[in-house]
């Protein structure tokens, strides 16, 4: 019976995957990709495909691809995706090739999410077994978090819009997920590669080094080590084999070595491609410098543009530091509190970055919503889930409306649009806070089951 249920479950998984691919392909064939690439929620100065095409054209005209402050991405992406911007096939939509690339990137990410989810689920079951809680918790009710996460990622309207809307978010997301997959499966070169590429493409995944270190050092998500010790104290048998391994530095050194290797490789390639146009310093100024100094203040679904449009020049640097340190401040406390759950820590970091980065888009939200699927079992008791779901739906419907009112009709103003951006940020904050508290509650529940004390 269970086998049949499993079979049915996996059958409909692939159904859903194929359905989402077909849906994306249908949307691609709509004229001009439904004009999604002109939406500010979808394409930002960092992820816009139009800017990539411009950068590629500048490169072909023997000018620096960063000229005119149009393109702010990686030169490697230019070499890879640039030729796709100019290749046209008769009778097909203009950017068919690149849309296919993003569809493939989405599918690969989904498969990697599924594999990592399965990994996490197995690790969870293993840890429950070693805590002897298998009888007390009904494991047959456990959902296949890998499948669910992959399906959430694929069928999420945000992901579909980011894929069809010609942005480079699918590729950035794929790099982040590759990094997490590699770290979970102990494939250290893969993890290093993913981390280096993700940081190179957009600056923020750099903070994922901490969950990756924890993943490589301790292993995937598990209840706190303290619980294991308490359980074995109770049993008065210290079975070393059943304890999760302690923190090991070997894989970390390995990871550092591979990360160094890959970053040197990437930097050398970038240096070669930008030799005549100012070299690596120009690249850092135009990519990381652009991200950190928030030069472009066109509206997006984040909160920085509105603020920096009105801040005085004198205080601009100060507030830049405040906004960026806002992310950095949260790194340490969260890493201390959630060190036994590195994947969840990664999820929280990604969510915080998506909220507080300089140019957020729905592609970033697609990433952490997909990663949310890994923790459906732990977050089963999360509060306000309906509120959040309705909030997300509401914001995604209202935000284009407010944008239209502001820009096209002129009956609204920037405050209308910024309201939806603020509400969106609040929703993300609620999600993060409630998620963390739900996970901590889950751990507390386990502790109660083991020790019998609240």
């Amino acid at each position: 019976m269970e086998k049949l249920k499993k079979k049915i479950g996996s059958f409909s998984f692939w159904n859903w995957v194929i359905a989402s691919i077909i849906f994306r392909l249908i949307l691609i064939y709509f004229p001009k990709n439904l004009n999604l690439s002109s939406r500010p929620e979808v394409s930002t100065p960092l992820t816009s495909f139009r800017r990539l095409a411009e950068g590629y054209w500048l490169k072909q005209s023997s000018m620096s691809s960063y000229a005119g402050s149009m393109y702010h991405g990686s030169p490697l992406l230019l070499s890879l995706l640039g030729p796709l911007t100019v290749k046209r096939i008769e009778g097909q939509p203009n950017h068919l090739l690149y849309s296919l690339v993003s569809v493939i990137a989405d599918v690969v990410s989904a498969m990697l999410i599924r594999a990592t989810g399965q990994n996490l689920r197995l690790a969870y079951l293993r840890s429950l077994e070693s805590l002897d809680l298998v009888k007390q918790i009904d494991v047959s009710e456990f959902l296949f978090s890998g499948d669910i996460a992959a399906l959430i990622y694929l069928c999420n309207p945000f992901t579909i819009v980011a894929c069809v809307g010609l942005s480079t978010s699918p590729i950035e997301n794929m790099a982040v997920i590759l990094c997490l997959y590699g770290a979970c499966s102990r494939l250290i070169p893969l993890a290093a590669f993913g981390w280096v590429i993700a940081t190179h493409l957009s600056l923020y995944p750099a903070i994922l080094i901490i969950p990756v270190i924890f993943l490589l050092g301790c292993g995937p998500d598990s209840p706190p080590r303290k619980l294991f010790l308490q359980r074995h104290q109770q049993k008065e048998v210290l079975n070393q084999l059943k304890l999760p391994p302690g923190f090991s530095w070997g894989p970390i050194i390995h990871f550092a070595f591979w990360a160094f290797l890959w970053s040197v490789y990437v930097l050398v390639l970038c240096g070669i491609s930008l030799k005549q146009f100012g070299g690596l310093w120009e690249m850092f100024k135009s990519t990381y410098g652009f991200i950190l100094t928030v030069e472009d203040l066109s509206p997006n679904i984040g909160v920085l543009w509105y603020f920096f449009a009105e801040v005085f020049e004198f205080f601009r640097n100060f507030f830049l530091i405040v906004f960026h340190v806002n992310i950095l401040f949260m790194i340490l406390p969260l890493s201390i509190r959630l060190r036994h759950r590195p994947c969840y820590l990664a999820f929280v970091y990604v969510a915080i970055c998506s909220m507080l980065k300089s140019y957020p888009s729905v592609g970033d939200s697609a990433l952490y919503l997909g990663l949310l699927g890994w923790f459906v079992n732990e977050l089963a008791d999360m509060q306000f889930s309906l509120f959040l779901f309705c909030g997300y739906v509401g914001v995604s419907l209202l935000s284009p409306v407010m944008h239209n009112l502001w820009i096209w009709r002129g009956t609204g103003n920037a405050n209308f649009y910024f309201t939806t951006a603020m509400v969106y940020a609040c929703l993300q904050i609620v999600l993060v806070v409630e998620g963390v508290s739900a996970v901590l509650n889950h751990d507390r529940k386990l502790r109660i089951l083991i020790t019998g004390k609240p």
């Binding site: 023997s62 590699g182 491609s273």
Partner: protein, 400 residues
């Protein structure tokens, strides 16, 4: 003690600062020579009103046509016409202006751009054009935007006399005003060379106070300049003699000819002109035999090839631009003209690479040279990117 200070040593002592002073003066004067001829301008002024001064208009328009034909574009020509002959009610051929009774050439054509028309042609505006001191609202097309590399042709025609030129039948431009304006232009480095050509009665008196410029007038003091012939169909004289013979000279030319200014100036026959065409070149540094007419009347540029590759064109041609030519500024004039001849049609990649450097001995530098070629960088980058994937796969598989 006495041997220390003797006349010989004193002389040697004084020689050194003198040398220094002399060299500093020499160096100071050299920056003036450094400006290169970069553009050509023409200011063509017709100052007479009324139908019977048709020929002055025809003069100016003929020269306008010549100058455009030899290469100066409209944006570098300031054309000032004091009256409208083409659309005058007395013109039997509306919108047509002829400079010959055979009516072969319609000077008014369909691409005549008049910058100052009718009552805008005043002495004040003329002097403002020359000196560049305009009101802020004056558009760019009405300004003489020359710089220190410009060769300017200034042609004036109308009724004139001893040291004056009549504007619009109501005011006059005096020769010292013109001289002041020219001096101001010189101070402000608004030209590299200036040719003043005047076709009026007693023309040579108009520029006898203008220093340091090349000037030619149609008649000397006390002589009149005459019209060439009367067109009985139009009813008025259609061209002046001086301009007629000037045009006769230019109609024989095309843009690539090397005719020099001396041949132009010597082509004026006093008996045919019925006046003496007088030119002054006492302060003009170059010999007239060496100056091509296109220096002032056309716009033929010399091209100087530099070592640096010209990067802004498409990648296909970039390889050819890396042929090196020596930066030779002191090219002889004749050789320069030959360069001009070769460069017609702007086919830059037909230039023979003279003196391409032989392959250097060091293999590293040849590698770097090959490396710097654009196509190689691209392909290297692509190889690097593609190689990332197998590297990743292999490393992952090895470590497992």
């Amino acid at each position: 003690m006495e041997t220390f200070i003797n006349p010989k040593s004193l002389f040697h002592l004084l020689l050194l600062p003198c040398l220094l002073l002399y060299s500093s003066i020499a160096y100071n004067s050299s920056p003036v020579e450094a400006a290169m001829h970069t553009n050509n301008w023409a200011v063509l002024v017709c100052t007479s009103r009324f139908w019977f001064n048709y020929r002055h208009m025809a003069n100016t328009l003929s020269l306008y046509r010549t100058v455009k034909r030899l290469g100066i574009p409209d944006e570098r020509i300031i054309l000032m016409l004091a009256d409208d002959m083409a659309c005058n009610t007395r013109n039997k051929y509306p919108a047509q202006v002829f400079n010959n009774e055979n009516h072969r050439l319609n000077l008014y054509g369909d691409n005549v751009e008049v910058d100052y028309r009718g009552y805008e042609v005043t002495v004040e505006n003329f002097l403002r054009v020359l000196t560049g001191r305009h009101e802020t609202a004056v558009p760019r097309s009405k300004r003489l935007l020359s710089d220190e590399g410009s060769h300017i042709l200034l042609y004036m025609t109308g009724h004139g006399g001893d040291e004056f030129l009549k504007f619009q039948d109501s005011e006059e431009l005096q020769s010292h005003d013109l001289a002041d304006a020219v001096k101001q232009m010189k101070e402000k480095h608004r030209f590299k060379e200036l040719l003043i050509m005047v076709d009026t009665c007693q023309a040579a008196t108009l520029f006898n106070q203008s220093p340091g410029v090349l000037a030619i007038g149609s008649s000397m003091k006390g002589e009149n300049s005459y019209s060439h012939h009367l067109d009985s169909d139009v009813g008025v004289s259609v061209v002046d003699r001086f301009t007629y013979y000037t045009l006769a000279f230019f109609e024989r030319l095309n843009i690539y000819d090397n005719a020099s200014l001396s041949s132009l100036f010597s082509s004026y026959n006093p008996s045919l002109l019925m006046s003496t065409a007088y030119y002054r070149k006492d302060l003009y540094k170059r010999r007239l035999e060496e100056v091509p007419v296109t220096n002032f009347f056309g716009s033929v540029m010399e091209t100087i090839h530099t070592d640096a590759a010209y990067k802004a064109l498409s990648r296909r041609n970039s390889g050819r631009f890396e042929d090196e030519m020596s930066l030779d500024q002191s090219v002889h004039h004749i050789k320069r003209r030959m360069l001009i001849k070769v460069n017609d049609g702007d086919e830059i990649h037909d230039i023979n690479p003279e003196g391409e450097e032989g392959a250097s001995k060091c293999p590293w530098s040849t590698f770097r040279k090959k490396f710097q070629k654009a196509e190689n960088v691209d392909s290297l980058l692509n190889y690097g990117l593609v190689a990332m994937i197998p590297l990743l796969v292999i490393s992952t598989w090895l470590v497992q």
